[in-house]
């Protein structure tokens, strides 16, 4: 592996709160979007002339549209509860990665232009003018937040830095300073239907190849159908599932589940993406436009149910926002939740005895589970609060014999982000990603040492890609990260229920 041009934080026996290292992550931020990327999303191509005024106007607009934004900017008392909760702070020591300090980059401007105290006594309350330096600082540090909401769990007022960073990115897009990675991808979804820009023929070709692989492996004809009219289920899954490792093994797992349960299903080539980066950039219109593709596809294919594959932020958008953005879904079968998570579906099937799983097929593994942030803190599965923790674990336990959880304070709603969420899964932010992964890797290393854990399962495409990249930097094997449905797929005994 190539030598890193930065120092990784050391993994200790315990997670230490770092000493403040001001400006440790000072920089220009990720690559800036080109005019072409901006145009497709309805944003100005480059920094507009009167950008300060446009930014302040946009901030005013968002203050009127989002109660969260307004209340969170007003309510912080600087108690310090969040200061040691962000994985990017823990991994970098940069004080501007403390959630409250990150919020203050924007709150200081809010106070200057929108509050009595900030207008008349700026020094007293830490208010400041919106200058080009401030904009650059926003661009850098609001792209060091993965919108994972860990800070909001611990805030006495529930202040969610994700809401602030989304608003900041929306404001920056409005003045013409967008992020290349997110905006280029959203453009591809608008045009083609998925983050990869994978057109229908290529998608069909890829899935046919997978069908052959499964046939070679198992001798069974397991189908991965595309655009099948009248199928029972439309599967919406992150496009990474079509080509990336270990994602693809998860997709094979879903296919095997549908196959054994005898559920007719299809992927849509029009809505061939579960991810919705519109959320990352905090832009309601783009997020809505991406979501609408799913509604359109479901109507055109005449399906009865919508099921989402393993993807963290996609599940947040699907579970929490899809009904708002693209509902109502009264044309679907109301006996099933709309939308449904693949883990909910598999868990129900396991409960009904519809799947024949042999966990001993995974006896070469000792598995732990990484709660993905958006699933853990911004969604639910099943009927009970906390189902998002129990259901994936139940699916894993049905598929493997040896399962171990990581330390309590690093799982469930206190889970650590993988370090690559929120639109940061790009190589121009590799140093940030590597350092931000430290708290999770530290907890993982502990169960590797104490319990011989060999694999970490996840239900998020970003987590899987991120860990594949950063685990080797910490001396752990790249293929340690697996899809939950890879475990299911390996345990499922095809041909025994048909």
């Amino acid at each position: 592996m190539a030598k890193l041009d930065f120092d990784l934080p050391k993994l200790g026996p315990n997670l230490e709160i770092p000493v403040l290292q001001p400006d440790a992550m000072l920089g220009d931020g990720p690559f800036v979007a080109k005019p072409d990327h901006q145009d497709k999303l309805g944003f100005p191509g480059e920094l507009v002339d009167d950008w300060q005024q446009v930014a302040i106007d946009k901030m005013g607009e968002l203050l009127g549209k989002y109660r969260s934004f307004k209340v969170y900017l007003d309510s912080c008392v600087k108690c310090g509860a969040c200061t040691d909760k962000c994985h990017y702070f823990l991994g970098t020591g940069d004080p501007k990665n403390m959630p409250v300090a990150r919020q203050d980059l924007l709150r200081s401007v809010y106070r200057r232009y929108f509050t009595f105290a900030g207008k008349h006594f700026p020094k007293l309350v830490g208010a400041r003018d919106l200058t080009e330096d401030v904009l650059d600082e926003w661009y850098n540090y609001f792209h060091q937040c993965s919108q994972c909401r860990r800070c909001s769990v611990f805030c006495p007022y529930g202040i969610d830095t994700a809401e602030i960073s989304m608003a900041a990115r929306d404001i920056m897009d409005a003045v013409g300073k967008g992020q290349k990675y997110c905006n280029e991808i959203i453009g591809k979804v608008h045009k083609i239907g998925n983050n990869l820009g994978l057109p229908e023929p290529a998608l069909i070709d890829t899935l046919e190849g997978l069908e052959e692989d499964i046939k070679d492996d198992t001798g069974i004809d397991v189908k991965l159908p595309v655009d099948v009219q009248g199928a029972e289920v439309m599967l919406v899954t992150p496009s990474a599932d079509f080509f990336a490792e270990p994602h693809i093994d998860g997709l094979i797992g879903y296919a095997k589940v549908f196959h054994q349960a005898g559920i007719s299903w299809t992927i849509s080539s029009y809505a061939s993406e579960a991810a919705n980066f519109g959320m990352f950039i905090g832009n309601y219109e783009n997020m809505r436009k991406v979501s609408q593709r799913i509604r359109t596809a479901a109507l055109e294919l005449g399906v009865k149910r919508i099921v989402f594959g393993e993807c963290g932020h996609a599940w947040r958008v699907a579970y929490s926002f899809l009904n708002t953005l693209a509902g109502p879904f009264d044309f679907l079968d109301s006996r099933y939740p709309v939308p449904q998570h693949i883990c909910e579906l598999t868990n129900d099937l396991i409960g009904r005895g519809a799947l024949n799983l042999d966990p001993s097929a995974n006896d070469d593994k000792v598995v732990t589970f990484h709660d993905s942030c958006n699933v853990a803190r911004a969604s639910r599965m099943g009927d009970m609060p906390g189902g998002q923790f129990e259901i994936p674990r139940a699916v894993i336990r049905a598929s493997v014999n040896r399962f171990v959880d990581m330390a309590d304070e690093t799982i469930r709603d206190r889970t650590f982000c993988c370090g690559g969420g929120g639109g940061l899964l790009t190589d121009d932010l590799l140093e940030l990603r590597a350092k931000g992964a430290m708290p999770r890797v530290q907890a993982l290393q502990q169960v590797v040492d104490d319990h011989g854990v060999t694999h970490m399962a996840a239900i998020c495409a970003i987590c899987k890609s991120q860990f594949s990249k950063v685990l080797p930097m910490y001396g752990l094997p790249m293929d340690m990260i697996v899809s939950v449905h890879q475990l299911v797929g390996d345990a499922i005994q095809l041909g025994t229920k048909d």
């Binding site: 109660r67 209340v71 309510s75 509050t115 769990v153 006495p156 529930g158 708002t324 609060p385």
Partner: protein, 243 residues
């Protein structure tokens, strides 16, 4: 009637108006601003009554803060609980006859006052000593603690150092309530205490003390987790559907 009494009487009317209307303005503003998306921090209650329980745990017990940091919780909770007792105890200056519950808590008031000042001092010490918290502190964050400590200390000083004529003080405030102005004693400690309280009342609606109403409007805490069951649509978002 001295000039001082008249000035303080007028100041209390102004400060009360600023506090009440300032807060009302803010609360109405929060209430009118839509929350377009369902963003409860999960796991979250799935029903409205569940949300009431969650909010009560936050407001009365500071549950999230407890999970976050035991020291901040201890000092923060001690301060707020003590402040509540102290404020309740002060109702005796505004009621005649004094309500029974207010009578019953009188013996605890002084201990609460001491606890309040002690907790504030510890919060300030923490703000100064922990580099992370010092980093995020603006001058106003220090001044608020100073103001609250001075209010508490000047109040306690009237108990332990130099008494004022509290019968006259009570007459002054009861008079204010019915627009029948009475003279206010002019002991320096009393005037200091009241001046600082006036400053707090006036600054409240323009400051981080807005966390008091703000917490009730925090979507991550006050929303029920039911987006699949109920379609949630803000008015401005509904307009997008008609385009």
């Amino acid at each position: 009637m001295s000039v001082t009494s008249i000035l303080f009487a007028l100041a209390f009317y102004v400060a009360t108006a600023v506090l009440v209307f300032g807060l009302l303005h803010r609360i109405v503003d929060y209430a009118r601003t839509p929350a377009p998306l369902k963003i409860p921090t999960t796991p979250a209650p799935t029903t409205r009554s569940g949300v009431v329980v969650r909010m009560a745990e936050e407001v009365l017990l500071f549950r999230s803060l407890f999970r976050s940091n035991k020291w901040i919780w201890l000092f923060g909770f001690a301060f707020h609980a003590a402040l509540a007792v102290v404020l309740a105890r002060h109702l005796r200056y505004f009621t005649e006859p004094v309500w029974l519950p207010v009578q019953l808590i009188q013996p605890f008031g002084i201990y609460a006052g001491l606890a309040m000042v002690g907790a504030l001092a510890m919060l300030w010490l923490r703000r100064l000593a922990v580099s992370r918290v010092r980093y995020i502190s603006a001058p106003s964050d220090h001044l608020w603690l100073l103001l609250l400590i001075l209010i508490g200390a000047s109040g306690l000083a009237m108990k332990f150092v130099a008494h004022t004529d509290i019968v006259a003080v009570k007459a002054f405030f009861l008079g204010l309530l019915v627009f029948d102005w009475q003279p206010l004693p002019t002991d320096p400690l009393l005037l200091l205490h009241l001046t600082l309280v006036l400053a707090l009342m006036i600054a409240f609606p323009f400051s981080k003390l807005l966390h008091a109403p703000g917490v009730f409007f925090s979507p991550s805490r006050n929303q029920a987790d039911d987006p699949r069951e109920r379609r949630h649509l803000a008015p401005w978002a509904a307009e997008l559907e008609n385009r």
